[in-house]
Symmetry: C2
Subunit: 383 residues, 2 copies
Amino acid sequence: MRYRNRPDLVLMASESEEGGAAAGVFTRNRFCAAPVEICRERLGKGSIRAVVVNAGIANACTGAEGLELARGMTRTVASQLGVREEAVLVASTGIIGQQVRLEPVEKAMPGLVASLRPDGWEDAARGIMTTDTVPKMSWTRVEIDGRTVTVGGIAKGAGMIAPDMATLLAFVCTDARVEPRVLQHWLKQGADQSFNAITIDGDTSTNDTLLALASGAAANSILSEAETADSRRFGRALSEVLLDLAIQIVVDGEGATKLIHIRVTGAPDPLSARQVALTIANSPLVKTAFFGGDANWGRIVAAAGRSGVELLPERVALYFDDLCVFQGGTPVQGAGVEEEATQVFSRKEIHVTMDLGMGPAEFSAHTCDFSYDYVKINADYRT
Amino acid sequence: MRYRNRPDLVLMASESEEGGAAAGVFTRNRFCAAPVEICRERLGKGSIRAVVVNAGIANACTGAEGLELARGMTRTVASQLGVREEAVLVASTGIIGQQVRLEPVEKAMPGLVASLRPDGWEDAARGIMTTDTVPKMSWTRVEIDGRTVTVGGIAKGAGMIAPDMATLLAFVCTDARVEPRVLQHWLKQGADQSFNAITIDGDTSTNDTLLALASGAAANSILSEAETADSRRFGRALSEVLLDLAIQIVVDGEGATKLIHIRVTGAPDPLSARQVALTIANSPLVKTAFFGGDANWGRIVAAAGRSGVELLPERVALYFDDLCVFQGGTPVQGAGVEEEATQVFSRKEIHVTMDLGMGPAEFSAHTCDFSYDYVKINADYRT
């Protein structure tokens, strides 16, 4: 499609004749790409047999022609696999405002179909990369109804969560038998705590796509309700894979040198917890302080203060790992607090906890620091 | 107070015996500094005679002791000037979490009072600086009721709009006779189009303070209604000074190499226009593209798309100066578009206009680019 020295077109297909359940979570950007529109259209309308993904051209801001080309990609797959066109989903990542070409897709398809194999995951993970420096994979197993169910996935983050060459794409597959709406329930819940809890620079893509496909090959009795013990066990396994993939994306963030977990506890409700955590996680001042190894609690407190949540400053406590640095509206005095805080900030992985002292809700966000390289990569990107 | 080689304590006082009208706009950060609380308490409760400002220590996150020390600063001024304590306002900027000391204020006060003079503005502008590289001043004159009225002000921005050493402070003085609530009306309106329309990194301070003081010495018949011709003329003069000061702050933004105006037109309402403009202006991806001179319309469009405003992508048009680069949901094709766009992006001052095609409202935001120096300054700040 675009890259010269490596594969950039990936096909995933289900062996199961009757196809399987599928679910999806997509970008909320108003300028969404053509493939996202196709996926939204087709999910919930019959089983899904395959997904085709290309890296290099995003097929976003491409109008009616782009939509027709995205449909054309799925049609090519459908005719090769002998399935309905509507049973094929599509995802793209890359340059926006440029049209894909169907010819290379048509030319590659027989070879792609012939090379489909159960252990092709690492190749697939590499095939969807753009500015990622490493392929991202994760899997786990769980017992359901006496059967071993596998949940595994691949993702690309990119340097960043960005619009023009750095979409977040993730595909999770499982052999569980599960109703589409139960799959959607757990996918949404898992995404909220993983892909929707990470931030590199606060920007979102036109193409962000998270798909889950369930073949049913494990032959467990079908998960048709969200709130059963088996279903919850499946949901936890799915969440685990999603969070692992999401963290891999942050660690590979453009210019990232540190992994930072921002946990907000004691919030009046989950949305407030999320809002405070993401405001801190997105603050350029906070992120440059992490890069500099500067245990600058003032920037974290000030970011929380502008989050829009009606905090009560005198109830807020801030911890770097287990070290309390701020409480009762003032910094914690004492010998060694500053030194110990600096010590925490020198690590590669840092846990920050802010307790709001207002209620039972909490949320964890995951981010990276803001380095010279972030500016370098993004100032020079297209040139 | 803190700096060794330059003044960092400033006193402004009105010659008028009966004092004058005052108005204020303050940070919305929940962790607001003690001086902000004092100002909020005293505005609207009688005339204001003086303002004392210190640079170096923010008196934020300092609890009840900090509040008492801020009161102490105003008490010292009041006793030297022979006015009520409540007629004195206070503003601070600098390190947060540290207490101010009253002793240097008490020691300096007789000298400050003795050196009060009408042409001390530049010294005052220098005295409130922290990481600013140049003092910021602006003034204008306007005829009201046959009298010449002067509006002049000083500001400090700082490298950035940041919590620990880089508050936004601005003080505008006028000899107009104006009712406090009319002054507040025009100050709020002017601030919304100036200090609340600029962004360097989206972070806000615990100490941000904008005060307007009107002595009445021009002896015009008092402006007691907002919606008269004279009053509007006064409002425009005030807005002009505020916008000029705000732009000076952006130009002196930490690491800034370019001044960028983001104008959003055709919005369904002013709030939507503002939200789209500020989302674009705050996007690290957009700002690094400006730094790199990369006319990356995709990042601007994608930032607008995640602003939360329900845009209709096919109605959106994007202009770099007068050059249309995106319209009808797709990039504008044509010879030379890319070259001309790159040409625009190589300038020191760049005008970006996005027309939403949805209504009559508009908003202009003003920002700077995101450079290596931004990261350097903020990663190394406290060390």
